[in-house]
Amino acid sequence: MNLMRALIQQVHIYLSLLSFSSLCVFGVIGVYATMAPKWEERAQPAAKRWDVPFVAPKDLDDAALGEKIRKEFAPALANPIAKQFLRHTADGKLLLDFYQVNGLTRVVVHDDKLSFEESRIDVLEFLNRIHATTTRNPSPDWRVRAWVWYNELAVWSLLGMALTGILLWWTLRLTHKGALVAAVLGTAAFLAIYWRLQ
């Protein structure tokens, strides 16, 4: 039994250390989400605008042109734009929205130039975005791919950490009054909220 406890304790410690970076991000984001105003009322980042001379090759359709512009001009983390998200301005010019974890880069393709409008989100919003960037979001960029796999590992670690933590309490310190009160209060709060908000 002691050997088992020691093993559970080690698993708890190592999983926690492995997911430490994500754990901090989750905590910071949770506090931020609590204090932040409604999405519509949040301050929007100022946009930076510039033009680049560019003549679109005639033989490319919108999707291929969008991909060429992404590869040559868009920020490194920008994902390819799916065909259904290709849009046009009121005067018929191709409009490309490159979303990525740092913000949005909008490109309008003119006859002789590309017009860029880039809004870069602040660090807290960046953390908010990356905490929701998972294996469901495939990216051609190695940094994003490395992050989503770390995030995946961190989520499993978080669950493992919680379960081993409960086991440790159960086997070692079940009689600790403060812990028992905290467990009852937390469980009651969660169940009450679940019942009331369902």
Partner: protein, 193 residues
């Protein structure tokens, strides 16, 4: 100092962890559902129905009539008005009512979406903030804040509790280094990209 600090931080760690445990499990579980959407059915069950309200109501008054008359709950959201038809939503994590209200006749068509357990986990994960009209959602918002602060507290106290244990120090340093290089490193690399 170390002898006094260790039991205090151990108790803080234990207490914060146990208060947060169901919330942490909910966040972990729903994160997996977000990352792997085919693993669980998180779609809501929808029911369409009709009711009659007074004619000529503004969106907020129509929402109030639904709340008081039919005991519907949730924040008023996504109001759209066009050609004498008002559309809005009453939103709380487990239930969303899509309302289509005809101002001239007072007829209201509703589509009620209700999430089951798996869907509710996802909906609770994304609910936060203290700005809601529904006071229970604000209570939940405070709990999210407390649990999130608890996570930071768990991280800080856990780091100390680990470091004073010599047996797990070496391998622990390797794990922490992996976390910092892989986690923090890629975060910084993405931010500066």
């Amino acid at each position: 100092m170390k002898r006094k600090l260790y039991p205090i931080l151990r108790d803080v760690h234990l207490t914060a962890g146990l208060f947060s445990m169901l919330f942490v499990v909910m966040y972990g579980w729903s994160s997996l559902q977000f990352a792997h959407p085919t693993w669980a059915d998180t779609k809501p069950v929808s029911v369409e129905w009709k009711t009659q309200l007074a004619a000529g109501l503004a969106p907020r008054d129509a929402a109030l009539a639904l709340r008081t008359g039919l005991q519907l709950q949730g924040d008023l959201a996504q109001i759209r008005q066009k050609d004498g038809v008002t559309q809005f939503r009453l939103v709380k994590p487990g239930v969303v009512h899509d309302v289509r209200y005809e101002e001239a006749t007072g007829a209201a068509q509703l589509k009620t979406n209700r999430w089951g357990f798996a869907g509710m986990m996802n909906r609770l994960h994304t609910a936060a903030g203290l700005w809601h009209e529904d006071s229970w959602v604000n209570v939940y918002g405070w709990l999210v804040g407390i649990v999130s602060f608890g996570l930071l507290l768990l991280g800080g106290t856990g780091l100390y509790l680990w470091f004073v244990r010599k047996k797990e120090r070496k391998l622990g340093i390797v794990m922490l280094a992996i976390s910092l290089v892989w986690g923090l490193g890629t975060m910084v690399a993405m931010r500066v990209a």
